[in-house]
Symmetry: C2
Subunit: 309 residues, 2 copies
């Protein structure tokens, strides 16, 4: 199969118009703003060489959906740019596009276009996702106010343990559980309506809790004070923390987590209709994140979060 036959057989079925054009036409319903976000994943950097196509597909789409979730948006469509080192085989393509099709159905999104190219070096996938949010209601990193609670939508750190377990650096009977957290994140799209209604700011914590809360602090010009004792960890992660196999610092800065961190006015906490954890508060002060131990002392971390350079 040549490039065009591959597109026709494997990618066109992910679209609504058969990808017959270089451009797609999207109708934006009145009363909605468009949300746009992009993420690139590269072989050997974001996923290991030889990673299963299913997991690359899950991750590439879902990390984008996670950003839409943080904005309080619902998914509309996505552009899929793939760069292959060599002509992909049919088995690989079937698995890759099969997972995309399943996730499209699960999250109500479709492929509106993209590009398929050859590249020297390593496989690369870039996705730009488009979403819709009622006009004027999009959430972002700015908007947190002194007095707001710092709220997490779920436990943090499982993905970091998953990565280390896959690398053989952590031995645990729950390796599969952790690996799945790393390879197949769940975008918290179900929270979008509640966020728009009750939160001032939201961010996914894909760069790690500390780094992404830091982004909120800078965009909102506030300090975040969080209490270590209130940060939720999974039961499986708690076992590893207790045994000393992993550090709290690693879990709070590791990245690849896809829970949301929110700024919620205290009077709205009671209305949140999803699992949530109040882990601290935003206060007036310079833009920084302070993690307090049980005695109220500020912990210092060597590393803020994942950076490419």
């Amino acid at each position: 199969m040549n490039e065009f036959e591959i597109i026709e057989k494997y990618f066109a079925p992910l679209s609504r118009d058969g990808l017959r054009d270089d451009t797609a036409v999207l109708k934006i319903p009145p009363g909605f703003d468009l949300i746009v976000t992009s993420d690139t994943l590269n072989e050997g950097v974001h996923f290991p060489l030889g990673e299963a196509p299913e997991f690359i597909a899950h991750k590439a789409l879902r990390v984008n959906l996670s950003d839409l979730a943080a904005a309080g948006a619902r998914p509309l469509s996505y552009q899929l740019n793939l760069a292959f080192v060599q002509k992909p085989d049919c088995g690989w393509l079937e698995k890759f596009t099969g997972v995309l099709a399943a996730d499209q159905a699960l999250f109500d999104i479709y492929c509106s276009g993209g590009d398929t190219t050859s590249i020297k070096g390593g496989f690369s996938v870039s996705i730009t996702a488009l979403g819709l949010v009622p006009s004027g209601q999009a959430l972002g990193r700015g908007g947190a106010k002194a007095g707001d609670a710092v709220v997490l939508s779920g436990p943090v750190g499982d993905a970091l343990i998953g990565l280390e377990a896959l690398r053989g650096n952590i031995i645990t009977p729950h390796a599969d559980f952790f690996a799945l957290a790393y390879r197949k994140p769940l975008p918290r799209l179900a929270l979008a309506e509640g966020l728009r209604r009750y939160a001032h700011a939201a961010v996914d914590i894909s760069d790690g809790l500390i780094a992404d809360l830091g982004h909120v602090c800078r965009a909102s010009a506030v300090t975040a004070e969080i209490e270590l004792a209130k940060i939720p960890f999974s039961a499986q992660a708690s076992l590893l923390l207790e045994s000393g196999a992993v550090s709290v610092e690693a879990l709070l800065t590791g990245g690849d987590d896809y829970q949301l961190a929110l700024a919620v006015p205290p009077e709205n906490i009671g209305f949140l209709d999803f699992e949530h954890y109040v882990i601290g508060r935003f206060v007036s002060g310079s833009p920084k994140v302070e993690v307090l131990d049980a005695g109220g002392e500020v912990l210092s971390f060597k590393k803020g979060g994942w950076q490419h350079f």
Copy 2:
């Protein structure tokens, strides 16, 4: 500088909101449809190793703008996904973003977001461009009708000669002219309104005239008959054709041309308010492109156009 400092210093000035969020919020004016298109360029494939950052930037943005032009759209914003093999130096970034800033001003578009990552192998840039078109008026490859004229917006083949000249395969005193056609294409955005008003279908000929006309034929279920004698070449290319340094086949199938090929009803030809060349007609028949020589004989070409696999 780390990843975030690079974004802050070089990429944030290309945006309207400082790229402070993972998502951008775009207002789509009522009465317009959204047009979306994506193109990826990879080092060693789409441009040579060591290509000047200015030319990479021009090309990456402009090939996307060319697709917006073919749709009859005006530019809105673009997402910029960059994957670097190593931390880029400041000189490189200054030149790359300087050209983007200049082209943003020239074509009235801004950067709404993107992603900056590290990659193994070669530098890669993916751009997804967004545009606006009055509702229901977007052009595409479908829509050509038997009886429509095949119209070109300008000469073809200069970019192919430019690539071969850069590779040292063609020696010509006009090497700079041709190299510029290859490295710095001009998206025909100025034609958008005329296209919407007078054309049935449009495509840029980035895969080569024959291949892209073939796409129109398949999407529109028609045959394209074009006359070799009517196809426009630049004066510089004509010299090389006459001397036998380059073949007609190469110029018609070479790709990297950014003129537009249009399907225009004959009664509308007189209204086209831009340089144009009627090179043939669409007729009933199976989807194919036939190139007729001066005697009306069908020429046969070995190669349809550029393919990655």
